[in-house]
Symmetry: C2
Subunit: 296 residues, 2 copies
């Protein structure tokens, strides 16, 4: 099966699980649940969940064992996009070609939908009944990794540095700090969590942790590059939107070609780090290459 079809299949599986896990829009308060679902089901790539499922396959695990983790991480990703788009942050009105959550539902509801998605992610992460084959101590550790990656020393810290750096002077260490914390840590926690829930051995965990970290950074650099050279109809937003906002990006700092080269290097390093996992990790390699080959 080619990679696109493989991703499509996993995407459908994740979407089905998300639809079951999120509160129904028929429940009170309707508008909150609608806003949550609006943002979660707005055409996301599901890159993080697919990475979780591919990690599970590389460990020869059962996908069902990591599906709730995959959904929880996607909820956290959706929450972060809603809050990043707010007028007080990036003030974006379009996301994936659709009005952003605060444009569609108002600012108060957008803040609350983000908050609710973050809390809901931890409800899904800590619900032992969703992981019948996991040891409670493993599940706790996975939830802890995700919490650490989402909080002030992870995603919230990265987003703070991003907001504060807008319009500031460019420095490579700061840019790397932002990308690693804003995007990288959660991707690493996703891969690591999926591996733990699939019974990975310590040496495998170490390799996958390196792979996850490198994928996170490569993913964000590729995103920066696409903001400059991407096709608006595929991106669902205008090109150069980051640059117009005075955002610190890799292309701004290193130029497009060097940025692209850097992402390719990181991807190759990531692939190297899981070399010893053999053929069963083939999808993880393909997904790594996809990061730098994708058009959206």
């Amino acid at each position: 099966m080619d990679l696109e079809k493989y991703m499509e299949g996993h995407r459908a599986r994740v979407d089905g699980a998300l639809a079951c896990l999120l509160p129904s829009s028929t429940k009170e308060p309707h508008k909150l649940h609608e806003a949550m679902r609006y943002s979660v089901f707005s055409g996301g790539k599901r890159f993080r969940p697919i990475l979780a499922l591919a990690t599970c396959e590389a460990m020869e695990g059962e996908c069902d064992n990591v599906l709730p983790l995959a959904c929880a991480v996607e909820m956290i990703h959706a929450y972060s996009l809603i809050h990043d788009d707010l007028p007080a942050m990036d003030n974006d009105v379009l996301r994936r070609g659709q009005p952003t959550c605060h444009v569609a539902f108002g600012e108060a509801l957008a803040i609350l939908a983000g908050d609710a998605l973050l809390a809901e992610a931890f409800r899904v992460l800590t619900d032992a009944s969703l992981y019948p084959h996991a040891k409670p101590e493993t599940l706790l550790r996975v939830a802890w990794d995700v919490a650490l990656a989402s909080g002030p020393l992870g995603m919230a810290g990265g987003q703070t540095a991003d907001v504060q750096s807008t319009g500031q002077e460019v420095s490579l260490p700061l840019l790397e700090y932002i990308h690693v914390h804003k995007t990288g840590e959660l991707i690493r926690a996703t891969v690591l969590g999926a591996a733990k829930l699939s019974g990975a051995a310590p040496s495998q965990l170490e390799a996958l942790s390196i792979y996850g970290k490198l994928m996170g950074l490569a993913f964000q650099i590729a995103d920066d590059v696409l903001d400059v050279v991407g096709e608006p109809s595929l991106l669902g937003k205008e090109v150069l939107s980051d640059q117009r906002k005075g955002k610190l990006t890799y292309p701004l700092l290193l130029g497009i070609e060097e940025s692209r080269g850097r992402a390719v290097d990181l991807v190759e390093q990531g692939i190297q780090s899981i070399h010893f996992l053999g053929p069963k990790a083939q999808r993880l390699r393909e997904l790594a290459r996809y990061i730098v080959d994708r058009q959206w």
Copy 2:
């Protein structure tokens, strides 16, 4: 020891633990950690943490076993106040006599500080090393209870209904829905979590769950009443601030005397529900009465 001194002692203990658990302001990004600490250490009553510690004492447990839970719940409380105060929500500029977080740090940082506190709460809830005497399955269940109480079917749902009801017609079931979800569920989860971490038996858990639920509702009614009759210097805000904002409150619906009577009834019911716990639950009874006797 009188109740005030008892509360003071526990408050100091909780503050010490919070200071250790929250990321240091010397770490990057400084401003985020400053904003988190600013809001957490702004003179909160620490009612939820004290209730957790008193529950532990009623179960003859060791306070250290519930202290991280007590802190996590206080972080969630602080996050909810920061987001509730935002311009898009209640647009409050003063809280406990001090500028609200967004006034002191700007809106973007206030949103992020709230987000970070919520994630940090789950980091503290799922860190097994902080609860050396708890079984992992107990800890998972406690974290799950808190997540449920904080999310769309708990606090975030209650706050949504609150925001949506502002300026709308008054109805008692809606008001009760708001209070139970916005405040009650988290207080219940706090008491229940503390009881579980202290090895409570099923019959004790059931009684404490009822007690927690009733305390949550009584607490919020008392808050509504204080908004009308309280002393501004003790409240740290203007009186009638809810009413001016067109908020649905108990005094607006039932009048002050009937609201107060209702809170007293709930408190007495709560005390009844834990009658069989005997003298060791004395502080829980005193704290219940304190809810309706307090001036702030």
